[in-house]
Symmetry: C2
Subunit: 641 residues, 2 copies
């Protein structure tokens, strides 16, 4: 047996005993060290790079690691096995995905975007009437001539005060009843909801308690989890936080997660990765940020894709990925958070934004609610660029939704130097046509660590605009930033080691570009197929809401230039950020929004692209810069030949 | 520090480290060794006798232990402190109360009594319509053209099959849904309830599962806990069991328990004594007896006095014993068993028989249901002789109930050689008028261990009939079985050491007789006060149902002879055993019985004896054999002067 020590660049270390021959990636999983492994360890993505600092590993040579990097000790964790004691560095680029809490890095731009969504929801009357309310109760103290028991005394007072006939006290409130009532001399603070004509008491606090009455809104993405602690019923956001989804170590996309949960104990393991390793520290951080204890959180609203909400509930998700793709549920009534092991107030209930299909989940229905595309007569699109791509098309009269297998490229997945839109990510770039030198915009202003989705769009658009690459994404110019590896694969060096935060080159390779072209081709062809399926043309679209983790820096002109979005006037596009979180927020603070989401989701039609005639042809035609059919991009005519 | 070892007469031992000067009774509590201590350790009851086998104890001399016994090593645990290592024997007479599981010792008589109650409930239509039912479900398998999610598919099928519109699936059923449906090829066994027009799914089992669908009925007495595992919906009793209430080590009666729960952590400690130390082994035994796993138990019905049900729920019971005597609840809606830490099927709910006052609890309301006194026009009494005495009076038009401070004498408490009606208890006795020699009937047929309630009644009645004692309970004859201790207190020796199982004398002392006379006086005066309060006379009573742990051997004529029951024709009395368990059983197997119990308990009036004019005088007058007013017992005229 050998001791394997994982280091994180000055942030402590983790040691574990492992057997000779064990795969390092597997050893890391056992040690709960999350190494980014989007391909789940089959050697194809090259993302699970670690650096051998001391000791020995038996590793395979791979095209993902050049000779210099190999010399420096870089190895793939999936292609290394234990061969004695070893100390390895888990590098920054992987730690961007590590399941650690980060306070929310939202830029002022992103906050402004969220607030404008709040304003739109408010204007639509969707932010009023929180279900969770409170009441200062003053009961008559019992006497020998009025020996009504505590529970009936409380119910009697609530009925009188609120004019509602039925009152239900959950067990845990009964349990604390004699104490709270007598400590407060029969004055108390009662937290309750009213549902279908009955008062549900959520908590009873001693008189004088003045901590805020809170709710949680959480967006669980395949890669990133974002949350906000909200004061009820005012709707004020008390704290915000974002964390990596700790399931990332089981694979980058939902398919890999489902494969992983099929292993013995897998469902429970993936559930715990979400509840214990992701949500629990996230909630702790939110509570610390607002100085509110967990037991003052009375409601949690989660928006997430179908796989994530199945796994959050510990429900076998296998049927989501096998024909006929039938989930365990679309919509569920609320149930206690404690049932999935999330400890808030004992009465706190989990509300899930409803799914409408195996691949169009609560994140999309909640996002649709927030996008407001369902409100007017104008034909609109919602394009959500998460770890997958989902598109909703319609207006107040109809809504259809589809999922396209765009993969995780928009969040930096399947891109060798990709990362999500957080500190150190190149979010925008321009390339000088003559020198081919780049001008980079990096989140946080530091030296770059990698590229996020909006940065990749810019880089590809600029390489194409400057003639560095052709319509197929192949390099057709030479220069000091254009290199070829030993396998003949070209790449563009965005940052040399001395220009980067990681002291390693940041490049965009032909493989990356190819992956991204397939991703943008999937989005574009899905959009077109959807519009055509309803008998419309792209030019009929009046509004395009772009949502997701691609970053607020997205350059729409560049996204059109590479043929990702339809060629429409720029003013029709709006980046709306995390619409899923905004929709969940609305449901948290407003009964009306919850009802609206429920009926919205029931009225949405799921379009299964794979059975749409012509979809595959449309996809293949879209895998070109900007498109094989230049007529679809009239504004680019001078460039697109 | 010293090592104290507790032995149980060949049934293993328990050792614990204790400090010099610590009270042995307290040390025993810490070691979880239950030594019967009805007076909670104040030295007055003399029950906590242990035998010092080895080592040293610092003990006080006490009237409860005579010189021979002292010589043999007998001490009071409450009056002994640690003074070095010691090994002590916890004797049989205490172990009768120890919190160990015993299979039910019910005699054929008691089974017959229970069955006759079942028959009466059946005849009243109260044993039909179990709320918990099952259904063999056969769902259409999903296809690409019918991708309805599992939960909606299940709900759709249930709606069609049962003609009920609303269907609710709890979280844990959703969690297992995909697995169970696909394993059984979309055939399954659905366990459900129908409540106010909605189907509540309780469980979903794979097709072919054939284990019985079960419920639990439990009577939690202050001293004894009895339970039965019942097949739903047939009502068949699969197993029965009885255990001592493990709270006994905190005191014999409810007042001592409430005092104990006021100490830090006391509420939780007393709750755990019930849930973990009493109910859990009882349920295990019931499940073993019927070869049924716990997770096939879908409902638990508990009948218990107000203090027991408050403590079972972990609710502070202090307000029950302090003016104005206001409980936290009378009636509660059902809630999950898991909320109080009793793990059955995840959906299993606890139904509590409702209380009507601080001292008239669910055991009495359930007992009233089973007694059937509420059914006809005839005026009837239910006299429940448990650890306390409760009396219900009325008919189909009115019901009033009261509690009298009879103390635990009927279950053998506060009687020096008292015990409950279990193996070794003298349950009946006759005394020869000339020789004064007794003829004893012992439960189980062995040599006697002590006296249960019916045995005490007989002994006192016989001593009175034979002129051995006078109307005040003082000894007025001499003989070889009549002794006086060093304090001049007389006693009758029912068994000399060689005649007893414990190799110690079994006696009935003047103090015992005095205690019992006060207990029977409380019952009689309460009965009379109640009858008079409604303007009736004892002779108006047509039926008297006698319930409780006094034992099926109760000799009614003797109970009348000592002035415990009204002087009515014997055929008007019926011993109905554990009516509380029978009532809980009815509620378990029948929705109609539950509704009936609920309305019954709401219609019952609680009579507070202590504020009834004349009650104290009536009590004092009744503390005589049979009564100071002989006219109340005309049939005894020749004996009562």
């Amino acid at each position: 047996m050998s001791t394997v020590t994982f280091q994180f660049g000055g942030e402590g270390e983790v040691a574990i005993i492992a057997a000779t021959g064990e795969q390092l990636l597997e050893v890391a999983r056992k040690a709960n060290v999350a190494i980014d492994a989007p391909c789940s360890g089959n050697g194809s993505c090259g993302k699970c790079q670690i650096k051998l600092l001391d000791g020995a590993l038996a590793s395979g040579k791979t095209r993902h690691i050049d000779s210099d990097a190999w010399q420096a000790g870089w190895r793939l964790a999936c292609d290394s096995t234990i061969d004695g004691d070893a100390t390895v560095l888990v590098p920054d680029i992987a730690s961007a995905y590590r399941s650690r809490m980060k306070t929310d890095l939202s830029s002022p731009d992103e906050i402004a975007i969220f607030e404008s969504m709040q304003a739109a929801l408010e204007e639509a009357g969707l932010l009023r009437l929180s279900a969770v309310r409170e009441f200062e109760l003053r009961l008559e103290a019992p006497t020998l001539s009025d020996t009504t028991p505590d529970n009936e005394r409380l119910a009697r007072a609530l009925r009188t005060a609120l004019g509602v006939e039925r009152v239900h006290l959950p067990y845990f409130v009964v349990q604390k009843l004699p104490g709270v009532l007598r400590e407060g001399r029969f004055m108390s603070r009662c937290i309750y909801e009213i549902h279908s004509g009955a008062i549900e008491v959520l908590d009873l606090l001693p008189a004088g308690d003045s901590l805020p009455l809170c709710g949680l809104t959480i967006d669980i993405g395949t890669t990133t989890v974002s949350g906000a602690l909200v004061e009820l019923p005012t709707g004020k956001i008390l704290s915000k936080a974002t964390a990596g989804n700790a399931q990332i170590r089981f694979g980058a996309d939902v398919i890999h997660r489902i494969v992983e949960q099929q292993k013995p104990g897998g469902v429970r393991r993936l559930q715990k990765a979400l509840t214990e390793e992701t949500l629990s520290p996230l909630i702790d951080s939110l509570c610390r940020g607002a100085d509110v204890p967990r037991d003052r959180i009375y409601r949690m609203v989660v928006a997430s894709n179908s796989t994530m909400n199945h796994l959050l509930l510990g429900v076998d998700a296998e049927a989501l990925r096998t024909e006929p793709y039938v989930p365990a549920f679309f919509e569920l009534p609320p149930f206690r958070c404690s049932e999935i092991g999330v400890e808030l107030a004992p009465s706190a209930q989990l509300h899930l934004a409803p799914n409408i299909g195996s691949y169009v989940g609560g994140d999309i229905t909640a996002g649709t609610l927030a996008s407001m595309i369902w409100r007017g007569q104008d034909l609109s699109l919602l394009i959500d660029l998460g770890t997958n791509g989902e598109i909703v098309f319609g207006n107040s009269e109809f809504l259809i939704a589809c999922a396209c297998s765009a993969g995780p490229a928009f969040e930096g997945g399947e891109i060798s130097c990709g990362m999500r839109a957080t500190d150190g990510a190149i979010e925008a770039c321009r390339i000088d046509e003559s020198t081919m030198e780049p001008a980079l915009t990096v989140i946080g202003g530091q030296k770059p660590v990698g590229l996020c989705g909006s940065g990749i769009i810019d880089a590809i658009a600029e390489l194409f605009r400057t003639g560095v690459i052709d319509g197929k994404g192949k390099f057709i110019r030479d220069g000091r930033r254009i290199e070829q590896d030993e396998f003949g694969i070209g790449c563009y060096v965005l940052a040399f080691p001395e220009e980067s935060s990681t002291a390693r080159k940041i490049t965009l390779t032909e493989i990356d570009i190819d992956n991204f072209i397939r991703a943008k081709g999937a989005i574009f062809s899905a959009t077109l197929t959807m519009i055509h399926s309803m008998g419309f043309m792209p030019s009929d679209i009046k509004h395009v809401a772009v949502a997701g983790g691609i970053g607020s820096g997205i350059n729409i002109a560049n996204a059109i230039r590479i043929g990702m979005f339809c060629d429409l006037p720029l003013e029709r596009f709006h980046y709306i950020g995390n619409s899923s979180l905004a929709g969940a927020y609305a449901v948290l603070v407003s009964e009306k929004a919850e009802d609206c989401l429920s009926s919205l989701s029931r009225s949405m039609t799921y379009l299964e692209l794979s059975v749409q005639p012509g979809y595959m042809d449309a996809f293949i035609a879209a895998c070109f810069l900007p498109h094989t059919d230049g007529r679809l991009f009239p504004s680019l005519a001078p460039l697109s030949k």
